[in-house]
């Protein structure tokens, strides 16, 4: 779960059915090395002989040969759904599988709560806001609200996190003050508007204000997120972490417990 994997393929594979070697494998139907896969898709054509031929052509181009169309079904007037079974001629070379490891593991809500309870022995405090003139709370709300995003509940849902969501158009001084009063362990800032690089200016202003107001050991973890950030710009912006498009609440929560509890690598 904590990894994203990308596989490289080897083309022009030999077709004979022999037990796969240590590193070279192919899909398994009911016999080692048979290469069988099952595939379903829709083509924007009416269900007739030509549609079936089109499906077979697609399957062949995807490396399925021979392929069998085992099911077709018309959907409305101009679409057909197919289920295709067949042998793929691609091989997978396990020695060439590249797995990009995140530098923190993705944990389940329960594990996150347990870590906070057992290691911090108090609630982990998160203060969130949209700063500057940005009124788009979509991002911060997706991460913080119970409603969450993509089927994942927001940080409010975690029993051991205490979330203060300041909402939109929060001034930096207010944010710093709230973080201080609430004894925030982490500050989450969301920036959607990017006109004239507003998101970068606002973020720099925010991190500078925290550096000025609080000594390093009292400073909360500074996290920003938004669709247009470059995740590699942390030191330039003076923050601890940047999250881009598609980030889910569980990723953020996992990062927080990793940075604040497991590794305690704080401050930029």
């Amino acid at each position: 779960m904590s990894t994203r994997s990308t596989a490289t393929t080897v083309d022009e594979a030999p077709r004979q059915r022999r037990p796969a070697g240590k590193n070279i494998i192919r899909p398994y139907g009911d016999m080692t090395g048979d290469g069988m896969v099952q595939l379903s898709f829709t083509l924007p054509v009416p269900n007739d002989k030509r549609a079936e031929g089109a499906a077979l052509q697609l399957a062949a181009k995807m490396g399925m040969d021979p392929a069998m169309v085992v099911h077709t079904r018309a959907m409305g007037d101009g679409y057909t759904f197919f289920v295709v079974y067949g042998t793929v001629n691609h091989l997978v070379d396990l020695s060439k599988v590249v797995v990009a490891e995140r530098d923190f593991p993705i944990l389940a809500a329960k594990e996150i709560n347990n870590l906070v309870r057992q290691r911090m022995r108090r609630k982990l405090v998160v203060v969130g806001a949209c700063i500057g003139t940005d009124a788009h709370t979509v991002g911060i709300d997706a991460i913080l609200n119970v409603k969450g995003i993509a089927g994942e509940k927001g940080l409010e849902y975690y029993r051991e996190l205490r979330v203060v969501n300041m909402g939109a158009q929060v001034g930096v001084p207010d944010l710093v003050e709230t973080a201080r009063v609430e004894k925030a362990d982490a500050v989450l800032v969301s920036q959607v508007v990017t006109q004239r690089d507003a998101h970068l200016h606002n973020t720099r202003e925010m991190s500078a204000a925290f550096r000025e107001a609080l000594p390093a050991d009292k400073r909360p973890l500074l996290v920003v997120g938004g669709p247009r950030f470059d995740e590699m710009m942390t030191s330039e912006l003076g923050v601890d972490r940047i999250f881009g498009r598609g980030t889910t609440p569980r990723e953020v929560a996992s990062y927080l417990v990793d940075a604040l509890i497991v590794n305690k690598k704080k401050a930029a």
């Binding site: 079904r73 409305g76 679409y79 709370t137 979509v138 709300d141 997706a142 119970v146 969501n165 909402g167």
Partner: protein, 525 residues
Amino acid sequence: MKSRARAAKLNLDPALVRRARALARKAGKPVVDMARTHTTVSVERAVLRLAGVTGADTDGIPWVNRLVDSVRNDVGLGYGVAVPVFHAMAREGVDDLTMLAQKAAAGSVRFEIPTGAQASAARRAARRGVGAGIRRIDKRRAERERLVLRHGDPRQRPWIYLIVATGDIYEDIPQAQAAARAGADVIAVIRSTGQSLLDYVPEGATREGFAGTYATQENFRLMRAALDESSRELGRYVRLTNYASGLCMPEIATLAGLERLDMMLNDSMYGILFRDINPIRTFVDQRFSRQIHARAGIIINTGEDNYLTTADAVEAAHTVTVSQLLNEYFAHEAGLEDWQLGIGHAFEINPDLHESFRLELAHALLARELFPDAPLKWMPPTKHMTGDVFRGNLLDGFFNLVGTMTGQGILLVGMMTEAVVTPWLSDRDIALQNVRYVLNACGGLHEDFVPAPGGFIQHRAAHVLNEAIELLERIVDDKLLNAIADGTFGIMKRPADRGKGLDGVAEQDDGYYNPATEILEEASK
């Protein structure tokens, strides 16, 4: 409806059921009293929309917002906006409200609270203006009744409810029409993420939304017109659903009434619990929006399914019952009739749990018997949909089976790709095949299915009802607002003095006048 005939399979103690309802009334009453003595910016904007204010300024801020803000700056909200606005119209000699809003935004009109004869004249004018809007809603309702007579209702129960959500109204329309052709009886257009927290209703046809399409009056109109076309083509009236929730709930309810939407998601506590909207704001907005829905003949769908996505569906089963009873009380109080109560519940028990299907049956039957004349909105599994689409399709089949065995009225079609992608054309087709198979194979099974007397299902239902009564007793002692503050529902703690939209709430002064509420309450007496 043959509802009475299908009741009494659970052998529930009628005295306990009466007690549960009485407790819900007792718990809800203080909240209603509070709603009657407060108003909100959104309620006042809805009043102005009924009086005919339309359009937005060049920044896209609706004129109703500009007008309410101007009135509020000058005289506050405590008297309502109707009287100061109609008084200003008479004084300035402006006969168009939108024009007045433009002048007010430019700073060339000042608002004041008239007295004596001027006040009575302003009240009369406001009532005339708002009354015209309510008559338009009445006309749309009559129009729906005519179209239902002409095209007919769906041939089967439950009605099949499908969701469309592309973000672009012009993409939504062909998708919705295709879904109707494929068998959907009800089309819901999901809103853009974050709309619930906007304190204004966007204007015009929209083509850009996040994971949904903005609810706007023009989008409502376009989609309703498209589905009218589909209704003619298919020979059954296809219903349209949207969401009366979030900070603009009263206005969206009003726009739904004006554009003949047929169902609206409208839960008494959803915004509080899941969107952190201030509880008082929510209850005030809620009451007004329900009064509009009652008048417009709109079926509401409540949101109890959401509790089960955060809390455990077995442990928290009784909180669903409690919320259903509260939603029923608030709905009746606002003038909604039983046929308009699409009371919500969901198939969310962990499928790995022993006897999970029997538990689902017990819960679904309990809702059916507690609300025998309500259509009930039955929601498919989401929490335990894992991306294993094959298992997901099986679970959805069991969900459909419970739906037909317990006579649910509105069935939201479960997608095997829940939690994977927004549904593809083929996902929808497979999901509808699943529904059709179950309805065709055993659509009348509820006639035969009677749980064994004293058996597992009867026992479980009685247990949940008892737990619900215990919880209601605690809520009555503690007051509902405190119970919400303490995290009783869906585990969220929401104190009454916190949350979004609180600054848009005002206490009514002695001279408060809201012609819409006045007209709507005359009707419900």
